[in-house]
Symmetry: C2
Subunit: 261 residues, 2 copies
DNA sequence: AAGCGCTTGTGAACGTATGCACAAAGTTGC
DNA sequence: GCAACTTTGTGCATACGTTCACAAGCGCTT
């Protein structure tokens, strides 16, 4: 009954219902945030052009992204802010509150626990866990940090679905395994390592050093371009290169210098 | 009619020298980190298969990525760990140390400043800046936090190239403008907002809420699939929906319920 | 030096994502 | 009620990214 659907045009493109492209999913949070900001300013409707600007994307991309959710929006007018907020929230699964456990209450864990941005966007930090006896018992953001022993118990009894790993790298995999065993199916990993999980569990990794390195790549490229306008692709030296980073060249069966000369 | 068409794909692929695909660049840090871990364990050579596993990607993808840097690696053997570390480091611009300023020494800023992972991977935190008089003067990770006034001075005199924005959202754009004016050409933004910068400056955004929301999307999809095996795409209700998230429906020129009925 | 087994590097096929451009569908004004 | 105007939704072309599969190349053994 409640069907705003135009009836014809049943499955013209990708199945609108199930198959939302991953690239689109990764942008929906940005749209949602831009829309929330607009809503707070009392804006009732917004065009794709305006919303796209606010979210930092092109308007065509925005429209195509939104078209995957359905035909919300009115031609000649734009999108109703509140309605679109609801639709995106629903698509992202934010109509329910997700419970999160943070493991590793060090520098980063403290910051995360104190961060208000989680709570206000559909997530509840339900538990804090750390291995260090000096940290256990401490109260952070209204929660008492519990010990590692309680992890499995806590996760399963509270029905926690998402785990945030903020421990040092070496401990991350073990923590992750225990989280998964206790019922977590989504993991946000801050440790600089790869986490292996069974099928059906998703890991997303956030690595600050990675981000900086990507920035550095572009910095360098820019600097190179600025210095030497149009260089004909120098074949990079390498003699002192290994010395600069690697160590004194242990088992180089075939030294690269050989190949170069 | 729009274009005469390039006739043939003449250049077999992208120019190997300059044009490294963005997707590849974003994975190089992972390879680098995996290689570093191997090096610390004393491994001298590694095959694409092993390295791919360690980095959490497929081996074909890894080989194609590396092939963009050049033909390092020996058929029948694999890649020399140290040599590859150097090549990737060089490509990422990590043979020089990049200077970083962190602006906004709150919860997150403190954690970032204390984080050892920056320093060990080619970056030097050269300055800490905050607007709050209670924070200014404090010593964090061996650096004294300075006031906002000193920002421009500090950035330009120290030759800082990268800025990390860890202030609340509303202040982020202004800080960013000042950083760019002072000479920063790369910005890592933790504030949940879009930063506008002139051409030639790159911004990367890290948003934890976004990451969690993407996790939530997949959680939800999984849950939906588990509950209802093969649902024929229910057309979502919406009557109480607006009430659940939006407010009492202010200026809905055309309520969706109307269109439905 | 010739053969064998192993692994790289890459062409080719496929799939996904982006951006353009415009018809369709709505609103506004008369 | 109709025409002019605005903005969405999407077909289409192109660009980008991933995966497969295998010939070329290398080291080791004989
Ligand atoms: N601080 C940052 O800004 C930052 C940035 C990027 C990544 N990281 C990564 O995040 C992780 C945490 O960083 P940090 O700066 O908070 O480190 P930290 O040393 O300050 O905190 C780590 C915490 O984890 C706890 N811990 C150790 N082993 C544990 C285990 N087995 N189970 C539970 N808890 C355990 C420790 O007791 C400590 O409280 C590290 O992997 C780091 O590389 C940190
Ligand atoms: N804490 C987290 O885990 C976390 C996670 C994701 C994103 N963020 C984002 O990072 C930012 C900082 O988060 P936080 O938790 O550290 O907040 P916070 O309030 O603890 O710290 C903000 C700091 O910025 C300073 N500041 C405010 N205005 C400033 C200005 N104009 N110039 C310089 N400094 C200024 C404040 O004095 C304060 O020290 C926020 O935008 C937040 O949304 C934080």
């Amino acid at each position: 009954m409640t069907r705003p659907r135009p009836a014809r045009l049943v499955r013209s493109e990708r199945a609108t219902r199930d198959g939302i492209p991953e690239a689109t999913v990764s942008r929906l949070p940005f749209y949602l945030q831009a829309l929330t900001a607009l809503a707070e300013r009392g804006v009732a409707t917004v065009s794709s052009e305006e919303l796209a600007t606010a979210a930092g994307v092109g308007s065509a991309k925005l429209r195509k992204d939104l078209s995957h959710l359905g035909s919300y929006g009115t031609r000649g007018v734009g999108y109703e802010v509140q309605y679109l907020i609801y639709q995106i929230s629903r698509e992202l699964g934010l109509t329910q509150d997700w419970k999160v456990v943070i493991v590793g209450i060090g520098n980063l864990g403290h910051a995360l626990a104190n961060y208000g941005g989680f709570t206000s966007r559909g997530f509840t930090v339900a538990a804090l866990v750390d291995a260090d006896a000096r940290v256990v018992g401490e109260t952070v953001a209204g929660l008492t940090v519990t010990g590692l022993d309680s992890l499995d118990q806590t996760v399963s009894s509270l029905g926690i679905q998402i785990g945030v790993v903020a421990t040092p790298g070496p401990a991350a995999q073990e923590i992750c395994d225990r989280l998964v065993a206790a019922g977590v199916t989504g993991v946000l990993n801050f440790a600089p390592c790869v986490l292996t999980v069974p099928d059906g569990v998703m890991v997303r990794r956030v690595d600050l050093a990675t981000e900086l390195q990507i920035l550095a790549f572009h910095e360098q490229r820019r600097a190179a371009g600025r210095l030497a306008g149009e260089m004909p692709a120098e074949p990079q030296d390498l003699s002192e290169a290994l010395g600069a980073i690697g160590e004194p060249r242990t088992t180089l069966t075939k030294s690269r210098a050989e190949a170069a000369g």
